[in-house]
Symmetry: none
Subunit: 558 residues, 2 copies
Amino acid sequence: MNAATPEANFDQRVDLPHLAGSPVGTLQVYDTTLRDGAQQEGIALSVADKLAIAVLLDELGVGFIEGGWPGAVPKDTEFFKRAAKELDLRNAELAAFGATRKPGVRASQDPQVRALLDSEAPVVALVAKSDIRHAERALRTTGEENLAMIADTVSLLVAEGRRVVVDAEHFFDGYRFDPAYARAAAATAFEAGAEVVALCDTNGGMVPVWVSQVVAEVRDALGPDVVLGMHAHNDSGCAVANTLAAVEAGCTHVQGTVNGYGERTGNADLLAVVANLELKYGLPVLARDDAGTSRLPELTHIAHAISEITNISPFARSPYVGASAFAHKAGLHASAIRVDPDLYQHIDPALIGNDMRMLVSDMAGRASIELKGRELGFDLSQRPDVLSRVTERVKDAEAHGYTYEAADASFELLLVEEIEGSRPQYFRVESWRTIVERAGGRGTPASAEATVKLHAGGERIVTTGEGNGPVNALDHALRLALVGAYPELESFELIDFKVRILDSMHGTDAVTRVLIEHTDGQSVWQTVGVGPNLLEASWEALTDGTIWGLRNRGVVPR
Amino acid sequence: MNAATPEANFDQRVDLPHLAGSPVGTLQVYDTTLRDGAQQEGIALSVADKLAIAVLLDELGVGFIEGGWPGAVPKDTEFFKRAAKELDLRNAELAAFGATRKPGVRASQDPQVRALLDSEAPVVALVAKSDIRHAERALRTTGEENLAMIADTVSLLVAEGRRVVVDAEHFFDGYRFDPAYARAAAATAFEAGAEVVALCDTNGGMVPVWVSQVVAEVRDALGPDVVLGMHAHNDSGCAVANTLAAVEAGCTHVQGTVNGYGERTGNADLLAVVANLELKYGLPVLARDDAGTSRLPELTHIAHAISEITNISPFARSPYVGASAFAHKAGLHASAIRVDPDLYQHIDPALIGNDMRMLVSDMAGRASIELKGRELGFDLSQRPDVLSRVTERVKDAEAHGYTYEAADASFELLLVEEIEGSRPQYFRVESWRTIVERAGGRGTPASAEATVKLHAGGERIVTTGEGNGPVNALDHALRLALVGAYPELESFELIDFKVRILDSMHGTDAVTRVLIEHTDGQSVWQTVGVGPNLLEASWEALTDGTIWGLRNRGVVPR
């Protein structure tokens, strides 16, 4: 082992002889968000949703978009009808998913197979059994007939001019039980004209060392000229790594879903797979535009745009694209990050369109507060006095239970107060009161009302709001009181409300921290309130959120 | 390649010669949820939270619990103080985290190092620079002095009788830049008496093929007798696989956090790592009880109990422990699953305490309810009728937002109702009301009062309680109303109160879940309340807690 000189024995890139110098497209990126991803609990996509997602995937530059199972799912039949008319894909081929023919019928007479042809998708992905136990126990047929089903169906589709991808279901489990049969299923598909056989870890239980072994053995058995694919699920928490292991062992087609959507623990997160292949393996897997540049910097935007469509809130800790993926908390790191950000990030977040963020927390020092200020558009480097005062106030506030790491808007108001001398005076509160009452025994619903007295727009205003709880009632009363002077409030909505008791050794005698999230349809902002009284803390966060929102819109106090 | 006969060439287990036949503990499981996990955006643990999590981790059977950074974080200093008095760990050793001495000072005179000794933790984890660039640019010292800092600090701690784990920060990045220096840092730590050197992928950018190469080279260089550890972050989506790759290449100490909590994309999910090592690699890594059985079946329960304490909603797609991890769409799979569930799951979910679900049905399986009943001392195996009714009610309750994961007392009352026909009638509530008021502008403290009307001990009672918040006032009014008939209440105290908004898409219009913890000085018990109104939900949890406490004391309704 010779490692005397730096980098003597270490590659910046993973070395993949079988892909060396491959042009774009040599390694196929096959997205199944619209089919396997849609199996996720809580996802229900309309045809319009599916069309919108397909456009985003094509923009990103994937090679294949699996749209659904025409014939089996009416919505998918319609998707392919409309896609043929409405979609103008620049990079991706559309694929229809289906199954091999039923036992004992002719492929051309199996309505399910006919529906695949009728979809007019240029590519068809056929799920086929490669585990003898599934052929016998799930399909209730023989291993021999299962192979005939693969051969017949693939041949028919190829004869009809379709490109065929065979998804070899339960391939890894099947191979572990009976390697010869699993290989025979794959070989049969290729002999019948399949362009790709995707080896599926349908139950998701593989770990990389097993994947490497199986793929290498299959590649040895079938030769280097066939295109093997990998379809992974995340049940062992290794879906991304299993996909990378498969590529290293010879697969040149990878399947996955955006944000790792899918049944159970989900499919391989295609965005993380793509980012790793492009940035760590040096493989150009996404289509390039005419100028030869890739859309990788769109990765984060596309991940979030698609989660808007699926209406599944994005997972902050997602690799590469998560809101927290490049967020730093520790003051220890912050000082070093000022010296050189690359000391503390594995890639430049700009490469995938994400941003580095500083979290202001009790581990934070002047350094992270200065960085946070810059992020919010305040240059404190020339204002050491302000920086000191803000740092002191943050430390003091956090000692009393405040946290600004999830409340940028409250932090910004604090900053504004120190820089401009005071926060904007949109209104002056005289008093407020809430009454919550349950007028009967068990099962009787409780009622809540709130009365707010304040001064705004030169008048004294008294309003009462009702709600299904005290905070909801306070929110309604405050909005009602201010909307006359500030019609901009019409568009504000309170979208999240979190409560935490800080010293849980004293139960309700303890300090309460409330985090509130507002939106005006364009921006989303968070504020924090703290106090011994839950409603007092809520009121602070409510009013701060209103003030920040008005200031952000450039509204002047009236 | 010979694969003529089934399983001829495929191991059920990953073959690890260097660990063959290892007894429990040979491979060390080191949890850093309380330190590195607490760096996650949105997590703010109180000392009481940390103590509660430590107890759960010890129950699970991890080998080490890293509690925090005494001296640097005041809360952590207090944690170690209280842990020494209050924690009685059966399986785990407590570890204090800290850094090597400052450049140019003596270790014995570095207050940060002294604080580690003062914490009296038997194990100390020292973060040390192993990347020459970090030594020079972040610490602003020389590579030589950095090695001296490692040697001095480790020697001092060892001389003071501590077991020392050195976290070699940025080891993989450092090794890629200058292998010789990274190795020298590790060698220096071992020479000074460190028991373990954990190789840290601090920036989380590694992929398994790189981890395997580095660990293998380091092991070759340092010999087979040293204990190397792996500390992975998930920035490439490969933290679990990187940890497995490190174990395959010779690491015998793995670090991680529960639910993969941590900065940015989080740390390696220790629960997935442990489940993979136990179930896929056949390595006994969790402590066994006297009967030799492991607590692996507690995995899911502990994951969810800890997420209740961190107040971070559990991620449904988490490997092994997620609510969706063994959920199947009904229909296509369902029939085959009835034939043989193992056709569609990578492991038996009972092994880690999770349940298989059909998505048409709900979370609660009969099996888990029978299990929980037994845990509480109710044998339902002979009462299929009760089991069915309870399962139905739990399904219905969970559909409305209830969770019994962290509210055994509420579950027990539900069980009692089904077994004995009704819950004990200690009192009958006629009505309640709370008023919270802030009579002045900013800074004026708010006041809270509650009035309760109920029947107990044969009388109608009307009481008013004050408090620093509405729930506190309700608690005082209820206690005041009942203490005459039930003096046992004198000893009851409400010690924790947690609120979670369930559907965060509608802010305060959403359903609220309240978890309340009571104690009577001897036992501690948890109850849950759910409703659109925060105070209504709190009232339900308050009254259930009171009822359970009285019943637990054997008090008869008066």
